[in-house]
């Protein structure tokens, strides 16, 4: 009875929102128990925040609650391994992103995207290339000119083996120069490092440094995207700066272990799509300056694979695999 009421209210929302999604299969027995979202990173991080946004939004989409379980450690590979080894019954969903590829290619994990079926992509973090507020670099041209004239002198604060490292390699590759990498770690320690002018340049996600950009502590050199961002409308894109390539970002992917029945994957994807369309989800993502991308099905599988190929190419070209 309760399930039925939940179902009808979910259906009502679908109808009311005029959603494009296929209706929830009427007589599906799945899910009959809570669905576990494994977040292989700590509480409070970007993946955790996104997982909790969807946990809440899925409450009235799914007939069963969602349980978010944080299993942090080893750059996300501990939790991902657990999800890989879980029963492929649609009750274990992994929250992941490009880190799945880097862990594999850098030798941290011996498994990768082939061990999972992608369900949906819900949002993307775009990166910005920044310099300190009183930096000698006004724009990308200044930076490239100096870096080319004096190779290996312009310092770049990064988090080695993460997407930031790869984004920097990808950028170096285009105008063909070399940064002097400085390992500072995650956004937390890197922010004071950059505001204090310890290193010349660094990548951040837009949301991470919106405040510092606004009050002039940090200067945006370029947005690593093909198009300008509504969250930072004045920031020129890397394409405008004259480098036409598809820059890496961090897209939030939901995956289930290989072998999960196709109808359950579709059911989950439908549910994510409905939740994603909700205004409060859109607002929550926008508050953190995450681009509102939604991809599923074959396009998502292609996207995951092509991102793996780009990372692999970078890792091989710069010979940084283990």
């Amino acid at each position: 009875m309760r399930t039925f009421r939940r179902f009808t209210s979910a259906l009502a929302i679908v109808v009311a929102a005029g959603a494009l999604a296929a209706p929830v299969p009427a007589f599906a027995e799945y899910p009959e128990k809570p669905i576990r979202f494994i977040v292989p990173y700590g509480a409070g991080g970007a993946s955790d925040i996104v997982a909790r946004i969807f946990q809440k939004a899925l409450e009235d989409v799914l007939p069963q609650p969602v349980v978010v379980i944080n299993k942090p450690g080893a750059g996300g590979s501990l939790g991902a391994r657990e999800a890989k080894d879980a029963e492929p019954d649609g009750y274990t969903v992994l929250s992941t992103h490009i880190g799945l590829h880097t862990n594999r290619l850098m030798g941290v994990a011996d498994f990768g995207y082939e061990d999972f079926e992608p369900v949906a992509e819900t949002g993307t973090i775009e990166l910005v290339l920044t310099a300190s507020g009183n930096s000698r670099f006004e724009n990308v041209d200044d930076l490239v000119a100096e870096a080319k004239a004096n190779p290996d002198t312009v310092t770049h604060a990064t988090n080695l083996t993460s997407v930031l490292h790869l984004a920097a390699l990808q950028f170096m590759n285009e105008p063909d120069f070399t940064f002097r990498f400085v390992q500072v770690g995650g956004g937390g320690p890197r922010k004071p490092h950059m505001v204090g002018g310890q290193s010349d340049t660094s990548f951040f996600s837009i949301g991470e440094v919106a405040q510092e950009i606004e009050n002039g502590d940090l200067r945006v050199l370029a947005l690593m995207s093909q198009n300008r961002s509504p969250f930072l409308p004045d920031a020129p894109t890397i394409k405008e700066a004259g480098y036409d390539y598809d820059p890496l970002g961090v897209s939030f992917w939901w995956m289930v272990p290989n072998g999960t029945p196709r109808d359950r994957i579709d059911f989950l994807a439908d549910s994510f799509e409905q939740a994603f369309a909700k205004p409060d989800v859109q607002k929550a993502l926008a508050d953190r300056a995450y681009a509102a991308t939604f991809v599923r099905g074959e396009p998502l599988a292609n996207r995951v694979r092509s991102e793996f190929e780009s990372v692999k190419e970078l890792v091989e070209r710069f010979d940084i695999s283990k």
Binding site: R36, V67, V68, I69, L160, F181, Q183, I320, K322
Partner: protein, 152 residues
Amino acid sequence: MKPDLTAGVLGIGVSIVVFASSFTIAPPRYEPLGAGAVPIAAAVGLFAGSLILLATTVARHLSGHHPVGGKRWVLVPRPATLALTVTAIALYIVLFASPIGFRGATLLFVVAAAVILGARTRRDLIWLMLVAPIVAFGCFYLFTRIFVVDLL
């Protein structure tokens, strides 16, 4: 065995293990030290510190300067209690994620550990009958309902 001797031997043992496995660490890539330098330094430091500790203890003992003041460390007053407690904890950890489940394992453990640790009077046992279920079910409720933890 004297305390300093044990600490010294422990330190030397650990330092050798760390030293030996430090050589499998990948060579430096971005700066001159690399991932292996600190483990090797730690092993060397630990080895040296432990060796000095051992040497001074032995020297002091030989010179008769330091009469047997330190108690023998292995001989605790209640070795059986200690061993049983450790065993109980280990069993609890095994049962923690077994089909018995968290609540059952906790009930068993609290009662067993209390008896091992010396709850023998009737008063203690009555209290125990109250405390054990409260802890087992209270923790389970707290952690599965209020906080989301993966307890069986």
